[in-house]
């Protein structure tokens, strides 16, 4: 291993073209593989403690297998470390890697979409970070990481320097080549010239944590965690039903009165869920910094144990979503995520695109507006998008939602209860049926009205706004020039109602953003003015088939 120097050592400086010498990733990377042993070791330790110090022979075998796996992984990592070289030339980022099949990739700097720097706790202990470069063209929406490149792992300072360098060649500012101190000094002057522009959009704020438990996942998450804990205990050979704690709980539940123990159990469940949500919020959002870099890219840094840093080039940023799930909306909170290309497949995109956790709605709107306004190189023409008034959708959309709720949620359950009650001569079920109808109909009506009020669209400056959803209401703002394609979908029922669903496709985010139940006669003019040049070939301007 190449000693403990803080910068990556130049290796084999045979550089035929103009460019920097080839560099290798850091040797300490290999140490990170030893963390593979942590999980098995911890579970063996826990099992021994729980069983009172006796170790079953099976656990030794499992531990041995884990050790072998760790050695193999380390050897593999060592080989990979020894063969991976990278460098940046004036025009491209180049990477050579591979033990058996050697491959050499060259990504033109102009095609780099985003650069992430991630560090899990092991990497952080070792002062390392993983750099992930996503490039345009290959991956598209296909999913795999084919279009991107991972460098595992670099010294943290080197990763940050490389990120600045890679994104510097992408934006309008050319002088990022010399390294971070020089470039930030140069571009600082340029940023100062652009008035009314604050590079820092959001910082660290613990008060946002109070909104973290406002999700239905508080209950589901506890059950899921309990399930996986059970599986883990079972895997260690401990039957959770036979532990002392389980016996104690069973005794309490049996002895106490149910109207005391059941609410107590629910309260414990909710408390655990809230604690989990807060812990997750701390881990995910500690030290948040959302800011525009001097090169005009949007940078997001966050994380307590695992730190992640996502940088999106301004050209790949297509818009932003103000996300208001039902409970958070009731509390006046909203979260923000970016609509950006090159953040990986849909799952990865969901992990990388959040910009702000549930926060005060005003703060969320401010951050969203800052993202939409653009970085230091956008002109002053982009006004604040928050003030746009949305156009509502036709009244028939409300009726469609009410009918949908009644047909899908109320009718089947009520009919099943009534039918069973009649067939089995159980009057209880009949009572259940009418009670259910009595409760469900107003609930459906309220939700349908809320869903109807959510619907809206507008054009505002450089953006188009789409809003829909009740359990999870999203206000999507898309750059108008980012709309890649338009789709209009309808069913026989929606055509009779005179509505159509419009989908704007963008190369990133969720790929398509759907606006349900727009008035059919408004849909095409809206789409045509929002993103001109797409529908033009097929428009009929007269009355047509009148």
């Amino acid at each position: 291993m190449s000693g403990g120097t803080s910068t990556a050592a130049p290796v084999r400086s045979a550089a035929p073209e103009t460019g920097q010498p080839w560099r290798s990733t850091h040797g300490r990377t290999v140490l990170a593989y030893t963390t593979w042993l942590a999980g098995p070791l911890a579970s063996v330790l826990a099992a021994t403690v729980l069983k009172g110090g006796r170790v079953a022979p099976g656990t030794w075998i499992a531990l041995g297998a884990a050790a072998v796996g760790c050695v193999v992984a380390t050897a593999f990592g060592l080989a990979r470390w020894a063969t991976t070289r990278y460098r940046t030339t004036d025009s491209a980022f180049e990477l050579r890697s591979g033990v058996f099949t050697r491959r050499r990739r060259s990504i033109p700097l102009g095609r780099i979409r985003s650069v992430d720097v991630t560090a899990n706790p092991a990497h952080r202990l070792l002062g390392l970070a993983v750099l992930r470069v996503a490039a345009a063209g290959h991956a598209g929406s296909g999913g795999s990481d084919e279009g991107g490149v991972r460098l595992e792992a670099l010294p943290r300072a080197e990763a940050v320097r490389l990120r600045a360098q890679l994104l510097g060649g992408n934006g309008a500012v050319g002088g990022g080549r010399a390294g971070s101190p020089g470039s930030s000094g140069q571009a600082g002057g340029a940023a100062g010239a652009a008035a009314e522009y604050a590079p820092l959009l959001a910082g660290h704020d613990l008060r946002r944590l109070r909104y973290a438990p406002l999700t239905f996942w508080v209950v589901g998450g506890v059950l899921a965690a309990a399930g996986s804990a059970w599986r883990a205990l079972d895997g260690m050979g401990v039957n959770p039903l036979h532990t002392a704690a389980a016996h104690w709980i069973a005794r309490q539940l049996g002895a106490g009165t149910p109207w005391l123990t059941v609410p107590a159990a629910v309260a414990v469940l909710l408390a655990a869920g809230c604690a989990g949500a807060v812990a997750l919020g701390l881990e995910n959002w500690w030290g948040l910094r959302v800011e525009w870099t001097d090169e005009g890219a949007l940078s997001v840094r966050r994380g307590l144990l695992t730190t992640r840093s996502v940088t999106v080039a301004a050209g790949r940023l297509h818009g932003a979503v103000l996300h208001e799930p039902l409970l958070q909306r009731a509390a006046g909170a909203a979260s923000v995520r970016a609509v950006a290309g090159g953040l990986g497949n849909r799952d990865e995109n969901r992990k990388r695109s959040p910009l702000l956790p549930a926060a005060d709605r005003t703060e969320a709107e401010r951050v969203r507006d800052g993202v939409l306004r653009g970085g230091p190189h956008t002109g002053a023409d982009a006004g604040p998008p928050g003030v746009a008034r949305l156009t509502g959708h036709p009244r028939i959309a409300l009726r469609r939602r009410v009918v949908r709720g009644l047909v899908c949620a109320v009718a089947p359950v009520a009919a099943a209860l009534a039918l069973l009650g009649a067939l089995l001569h159980l009057p209880v079920l009949l009572h259940c049926a009418w009670a259910y109808v009595l409760v469900a109909v107003p609930a459906v009506w309220l939700l349908a009205r809320d869903a109807y009020r959510s619907l809206g669209h507008a054009l505002h400056g450089r953006h188009l706004l789409l809003r829909s959803g009740t359990f999870s209401r999203d206000l999507v703002a898309l750059r108008r020039e980012s709309v890649l394609s338009w789709s209009f979908s309808s069913t026989p029922l929606s055509r009779r109602a005179g509505t159509v669903s419009v989908t704007a496709a963008v190369a990133g985010g969720e790929d398509g953003y759907r606006l349900p139940d727009m008035a059919a006669r408004d849909a095409v003019p809206f789409a045509h003015t929002a993103a001109p040049g797409i529908l033009g070939d097929f428009l009929d301007h007269g009355r047509g088939e009148g």
Partner: protein
């Protein structure tokens, strides 16, 4: 019924030509404005070229193989079993099978191809490609040729039997991808080539 031969003619017919039969899939924006008060707003006209007539048989066979056939067979088997072993159950099982399996299967078998042949259509504009598809859920999609990444001609074993092909156009967004199904093979290849040429791609055949 006009046979979609226009894929062979490089210049589309003049716009005065009516788009085939009157019972077409509704153009977006036109269906909901029946009143005389409707001001002239721009709306999308339907695409000009329709799926090949053979496609209807292809969709019928597809329906038989995927959904209708298995459902009918299940109903038949259950009815036979009931007739052999529980003749008394036929009184309530018969209507149940009819309502749950036989009628939906027949409805799908008859309605899906008939609706699809009316809805499926395509047209290549100067800068965009326009496709309509679906049967119950119908979708009209317009994608600029400049955003096209790949163009493929796909032929499944069943489509090959009917001499048909599907043109698949992909973009950087799954919500922008266009599929034009039920084209005659020659038309499909021609269309793929024209899209590829217009998009400035090297034509890729996945056939």
């Amino acid at each position: 019924m006009p046979v979609p031969t226009t894929a062979n003619s490089p210049s589309p017919p003049p716009s005065s030509q009516p788009p085939g039969g009157s019972a077409r899939g509704a153009a977006v924006g036109s269906s909901a404005t029946p009143g005389p008060y409707a001001t002239p707003v721009p709306h999308l006209r339907p695409p000009r070229h329709r799926a090949h007539p053979r496609a209807r048989r292809w969709w019928t066979v597809q329906a038989l193989l995927t959904l209708s056939g298995p459902m009918l067979l299940t109903a038949l088997a259950l009815a036979a079993l009931s007739l052999l072993f529980f003749p008394s159950a036929l009184g309530w099982l018969g209507p149940l099978l009819l309502g749950v399996l036989v009628l939906p299967a027949l409805a799908y078998l008859l309605a899906m191809p008939a609706l699809r042949i009316r809805v499926h259509a395509w047209e290549l504009g100067e800068h965009t490609v326009y496709a309509a598809g679906g049967w119950y859920w119908q979708r009209h999609r317009i994608t600029p040729l400049a955003r096209v990444q790949t163009v493929d001609t796909v032929r499944g074993p069943l489509q090959r039997r009917f001499g048909l092909a599907t043109v698949v156009v992909t973009t950087a967004s799954t919500a922008g991808d266009v599929r034009i199904a039920g084209l005659a093979l020659a038309d499909a290849e021609e269309l793929a080539q024209r899209i590829g040429a217009a998009a400035g791609l090297e034509t890729g055949d996945a056939a």
